[in-house]
């Protein structure tokens, strides 16, 4: 059981961003993708989630044996893909509690609804784990949240929706060290045998807290090197230059 990406090419407008990505994220593993700005890391996360702006020109993405490229964004989500956004959107007037509840209700058969008491019990428990004040249930989604609060809110949603595969797009950006620890603890608590993670980051720092099983280096729309956690340290010390293909 895994997400398997084969020879994935994708473009935005006329610009090709992904130029043949190959990647397998098995359940139970944490994979990290590192790379410089513009290498295609964030694009890869959006293409997996199904963002309309990107056109897949060739290649495949399979999740647990199922082709997901023809699925809409929301269908992929309900099938188990979760993307923690680098810049979570604000939704004015929609309370956090109602937003998450609507997302959970969307996973139930038509006509069924969540039990409100059980829902709040679970929500509060997970907020406590992320050290989120309960006033965040009534506040509009991400509106007026600090950077750290927004990222915690992403992890809260992830915890509530219980996805099969979690993609974290630069979740560490804009976090101070305390928030980074809390977010990492939240992610680590979700690490199970039946859940896979793809963590996109610039810096090795996050990987001190969320230990990856595999580290990939992305460059110019391709994964050019993969290795163990030591690869992240190597990158941190020596920079990305050494991995540039000789021809570039």
């Amino acid at each position: 059981m895994s997400i398997i990406i084969k020879d994935l090419h994708a473009k935005i407008g006329d610009t090709e961003i992904l130029k043949g990505v190959n990647l397998e994220i098995p359940k139970g593993e944490v994979h990290a993708i590192m790379g410089i700005n513009g290498s295609g890391k964030s694009t890869l996360s959006k293409v997996i989630a199904g963002h309309d702006d990107y056109q897949v020109t060739s290649g495949t993405i399979e999740m647990d044996g199922q082709d997901i490229l023809d699925m809409d964004v929301d269908e992929r989500s309900r099938e188990g893909v979760f993307l923690a956004f680098q810049y979570p959107m604000e939704i004015p007037g929609v309370s956090n509690a109602n937003f998450i509840r609507a997302a959970l209700n969307a996973r139930l058969p038509e006509g069924e609804e969540l039990d409100a008491v059980a829902y709040y019990k679970e929500l509060y428990a997970k907020m406590d784990g992320l050290e989120m004040d309960r006033k965040f249930t009534a506040r509009a989604v991400n509106e007026g949240f600090s950077g750290g609060e927004k990222k915690r809110n992403e992890i809260l949603q992830m915890a509530m929706l219980e996805p099969k595969y979690c993609i974290l797009d630069e979740t560490d950006s804009g976090l101070d060290i305390d928030a980074l620890k809390i977010v990492s603890r939240g992610v680590n608590s979700l690490r199970t045998e039946d859940r896979g993670f793809l963590i996109i980051t610039h810096y090795q720092r996050l990987l001190n807290y969320i230990k990856p099983d595999v580290v990939h280096v992305m460059y110019d729309g391709q994964i050019i090197k993969s290795g163990g956690p030591e690869l992240a340290l190597e990158l941190e010390e020596q920079g990305y230059e050494q991995f540039k293909p000789a021809s570039v």
Partner: protein, 485 residues
């Protein structure tokens, strides 16, 4: 989809029982039916002096009312269509093809048991008797030109509350209503107030005695059942000194092949220290011209609030107003308008400050879907000789599709420098990135759009009574279906 705010300390959302919920469900599908026409009284097609005489005769009106009607007809005929500032679509109203008076009887019954079966069926399906049992102090149910049912709780009658239709109000309680009738909104205020003054029928005449604060709302339901018909109800509410009342009105009509006209005049008088809240949830079918004049006069330290939701209709023109005539008076308009494909919601507010230290507040939110057009027209007037007046105006528009339209025409006239006014306006769109975010959490595009729209109006929806706010959210969801994709 529910999006009510739930505070952290109360995990369970406040529930209303199923009967109440069913009772307030007035969605388009529920309203889109009609029963066979069966009119004992029919003024025929077209508008002539004889039409007015017919209406006056069947109502057995006094001469002064008959004369009032005839004068109004002349005013109506002399006034041009306001197409110099309003939409040309007004020219598509064929006054000569409309039926101005259709009624089954002259006197509303006090008991649902005595309502004719087909009319009863209509109001049952709209849930009015159930609502009455659930949370209302009094109900009037108008079917075409006349109220079929009108009742107010007995204890309120004993305390001096009057809640009758216009015919009865002018005949049985002339001394109370005549001094105010046509004074807040004179016949010649606009072409449609003149039309209403000529052919008015039905509506609510309400008097709340001094110091009496009604705990439960009064409700009127206006139902159009007949094609090529014009509904011209006339409402006058007088809240005597220190009294309080909330009045709610709901409106529906079935889908007809031809256009239908609804043109009401609503006058409110809040005497010293009184408080009137007037709540409208209109859900007209898409061929109704809804041209309504609503205004209130607030005396010393009195307060008038218009809480208005406009969904449906082909064209709505409605600018509820408050004349703040006494020192310390307050006026407020809270309005939501949703213009779907082929609809034009031309709404706004008029705040006329006529005494010192008066305060007005206008909060308007509109949503344009597809080729729907939302127009906001605001008029705030503070003359030079006054002091200490305050106005706050906020109007926000949300555009759903690329071809949706919104226009804003605020006119704020403030003379003198002893006043505080504030005006904010915004136009926004539901961004693709916001939709992507919501869809990434598993919501379909339509669900995401509904949630975003409900979020946009959420702070205003909470101004409506709880029984209506749940229904409003559902109506918005219904309207948003098919707006995407």
């Amino acid at each position: 989809m529910e999006i009510e705010d739930i505070s952290a300390t109360t995990p369970e959302p406040q529930e209303i029982d199923q009967e109440t919920q069913n009772a307030i469900d007035i969605d388009r599908a529920t309203g889109d039916f009609r029963v066979p026409e069966n009119h004992e009284f029919d003024a025929g097609v077209g508008l002539t002096p004889e039409t007015l005489d017919y209406i006056s005769s069947v109502k057995k009106e006094k001469d002064w009312i008959r004369e009032f009607r005839h004068k109004a007809l002349k005013t109506f005929e002399s006034k041009p269509m306001p197409t110099n500032w309003a939409t040309q679509d007004l020219n598509n109203i064929k006054f000569e093809e409309i039926r101005y008076y259709l009624a089954n009887g002259q006197k509303p019954t006090r008991s649902w048991d005595d309502v004719p079966p087909e009319v009863m069926e209509t109001f049952e399906r709209l849930g009015i008797p159930q609502q009455e049992r659930a949370f209302l102090a009094g109900v009037e149910a108008q079917f075409d030109s006349e109220a079929a049912y009108s009742n107010v709780k007995e204890e309120l009658t004993k305390q001096g509350v009057i809640f009758v239709n216009s015919t009865e109000g002018l005949r049985e309680h002339e001394e109370i209503f005549r001094p105010y009738f046509g004074k807040v909104i004179p016949t010649g205020d606009n072409k449609f107030s003149a039309l209403n003054s000529a052919v008015f029928s039905g509506g609510s005449f309400i008097y709340i005695p001094k110091g009496l604060k009604l705990k439960q709302p009064l409700q009127a339901y206006f139902r159009i059942n007949s094609e090529n018909f014009g509904q011209f109800e006339r409402t006058l509410i007088i809240a005597d000194e220190g009294s309080e009342v909330m009045y709610m009105e709901g409106c529906t009509a079935p889908k007809f092949e031809t256009t239908t006209l609804h043109s009401a005049v609503v006058e409110l008088v809040a005497l010293k220290g009184a408080k009137i809240q007037y709540v409208t949830v209109q859900n007209w079918s898409a061929n109704v011209f809804n041209l309504v004049t609503k205004r209130g006069v607030a005396h010393e330290n009195a307060e008038i609030r218009w809480i208005d939701c406009n969904i449906g209709s082909r064209l709505t023109m409605k600018y509820p107003g408050v004349v703040m005539k006494g020192e310390g008076a307050r006026g407020e308009v809270v309005s939501i308008a949703l213009a779907n494909d082929g609809q034009h919601q031309d709404t706004g507010a008029k705040m006329i400050h006529a005494a010192d230290n008066t305060t007005s507040n206008v909060v308007s939110k509109s949503i344009s879907v597809g080729k729907g057009i939302s127009t906001y027209r605001g008029q705030v007037h503070i003359p030079k000789h006054l002091k200490g007046c305050k106005n706050n105006t906020e109007c926000d528009a949300l555009l759903i599709n690329a071809n949706s339209q919104t226009d804003t025409y605020p006119a704020i006239t403030v003379r003198g420098n002893k006043h505080v006014t504030q005006h904010e306006a915004s136009v926004s769109q539901v961004s693709q990135e916001m939709l992507f975010y919501m869809q990434q959490r598993g919501l379909s595009e339509a669900q995401a759009m509904s949630l975003a729209v409900n979020g946009f109006v959420n702070d205003l929806v909470s101004e409506f009574p709880m029984e209506y706010s749940a229904e409003l959210k559902r109506l918005i969801d219904l309207e948003m279906e098919g707006s995407v994709g």
